[in-house]
């Protein structure tokens, strides 16, 4: 290209952007949209669960602990370990585990980062109503 270079296209681009609308989304003030099928926080439906423990067995991150709830073994999701692959949902023979669009899971307390079978059962039924 030698000495004679054409003008860099940046000259125009930068100037036009100065007056263009920024590409910035208005997140935290406008909710971020999440496409269908997003792998977010688990929703667990206790009424479908048959306590087989397949989810826990197949979890690659060992994030699912089976806990005793009303004398039955139920999955407890450790969100701090969860890699949101949804193998658990795939392994579940009864589709008791579904994903949600919830992704704002941050917490300043690590012990908050669990989806307890009972709590999420209520929440799950709440969504259904």
């Amino acid at each position: 290209m030698g000495k004679k270079t054409t003008v860099s296209p940046m000259v125009k681009e930068a100037l036009s952007n100065l007056f263009a609308r920024p590409a910035t989304s208005k997140y935290p003030f406008v909710k971020a949209e999440v496409p269908e099928g997003f792998r977010g926080k688990q929703v667990y439906d206790i009424s479908l669960c048959i306590s087989c423990g397949l989810c826990s067995r197949d979890c690659p991150a060992k994030a699912i602990e089976m806990v005793e709830v009303d004398a039955k073994r139920r999955p407890l999701f450790h969100l701090d370990l969860c890699i949101f692959c949804y193998q658990c949902a795939e392994s579940c023979p009864r589709n008791a585990i579904k994903s949600s669009a919830l992704f704002e899971l941050a917490s300043i307390d690590k012990s908050n980062l669990v989806v307890h079978p009972q709590a999420s059962a209520q929440k799950g039924s709440g969504v259904q109503q």
């Binding site: 930068a14 100037l15 952007n17 920024p22």
Partner: protein, 330 residues
């Protein structure tokens, strides 16, 4: 007594310390905002209206942070250099006529252009010292780069500054600014363009921001600094940028002078000054966005092979014009 109060007001509030500091913060905000917008971003937005207080908030935050002097650092120099550098730049800035007169009235004298150029160099040297004193390899390399670069670019910068001096027939900034019935940018546009380029290098902005090349030297000379001292280093840099832009305004854009519509001329002069200043800062920021960073050897060869001969040429051309052509026109 009235005179003394007036004097103190001028030094501390307007157009002195407080005004200059707020101006610096404001310019820093403009710079960040313009850069963000050119990059299709929003930039600071939530601190104060449209994020205008962001630089101020950053400054305050740094003041409250823990102050660490690293082991192995040359403690006295490490502590003093940033503050002294800061005061020198502010001192230099106060020589510039802002509302029609310099901060301290009647302090301008015949050779003050040379003095403030020297002050700029000293400030850069102090910045070098501050990096060198931090005993961190990145700090030292960054500092060495500052030194190499300003040593190289000081000469063309000074040569170019002489062009308006010749046009005005004076080495006093106030006189140069005052003599521009027609801004010198129109009389010597080549010198203006070259001056901006040299200034870009002197102020270490893209494509000459070698001392700030994060990917090579981390934080450059600031690497080991934190808290209050970092705040002052940042501020020094920002004041330097304002100073550089102000120099352009004084030398090429007719200084603070412009049409006075009503009321105090001082008000209008300050307004014109700030507007022109912003124009220069926007141009400089625009240039920053256009280019990739050059390598230190490319920067130096660009200086010695291109800028220096060109600035000598520009000076010669200006002198020739002043001597033979303009007398015929004016």
């Amino acid at each position: 007594m009235v005179l003394d109060l007036w004097f103190i007001f001028r030094v501390l509030v307007f157009p002195g310390f407080t005004f200059l500091l707020s101006l610096t913060m404001f310019c820093d905000w403009v710079e960040r905002k313009i850069e963000a917008r050119m990059q299709n971003r929003v930039g600071p937005k939530f601190t104060g209206p449209a994020g205008i207080l962001q630089p101020f908030a950053d400054f305050l935050k740094l003041l409250t942070k823990e102050d660490i002097v690293p082991r192995g650092a040359k403690s006295t120099v490490f502590k003093l250099a940033p503050i002294v550098a800061f005061s020198i730049v502010v001192f230099a800035l106060s020589f510039l006529p802002i509302d029609g007169a310099a901060v301290i009235s009647n302090s301008s004298f015949a050779g003050d252009l040379i003095v403030i150029m020297a002050l700029l160099t000293i400030a850069n040297f102090l910045l070098f010292l501050s990096g060198w004193a931090s005993a961190n390899p990145y700090g030292t390399i960054g500092a060495a780069r500052v030194l190499t670069q300003f040593l190289g670019y000081d000469i063309p910068l000074f040569l170019l500054a002489l062009a308006p001096a010749f046009l005005a027939g004076s080495l006093s900034i106030a006189a140069i600014a005052a003599s521009q019935y027609l801004p010198f940018v129109l009389l010597a546009p080549w010198a203006f363009v070259l001056f901006i380029v040299a200034l870009q290098a002197e102020l270490e902005k893209d494509p000459f921001d070698i001392p700030h090349a994060e990917s090579e030297v981390v934080g450059g000379l600031e690497t080991e600094y934190c808290g209050r001292k970092l705040a002052f280093l940042h501020l020094t840099r920002d004041v330097q940028i304002v100073f550089g832009a102000a120099l352009v305004v004084e030398l090429f854009l007719g200084g603070p002078y412009g049409p006075v519509f009503f009321g105090f001329p001082a008000f209008w002069y300050s307004l014109w000054f700030v507007l022109k200043l912003l124009a220069v800062i926007i141009i400089s920021e625009y240039l920053t966005c256009l280019f990739a960073r050059l390598r230190i050897d490319q920067v130096l060869s660009a200086n010695w092979k291109m800028l220096l001969p060109l600035s000598v040429l520009s000076l010669a051309l200006t002198i020739a014009l002043v001597t033979w052509v303009y007398p015929l026109v004016v």
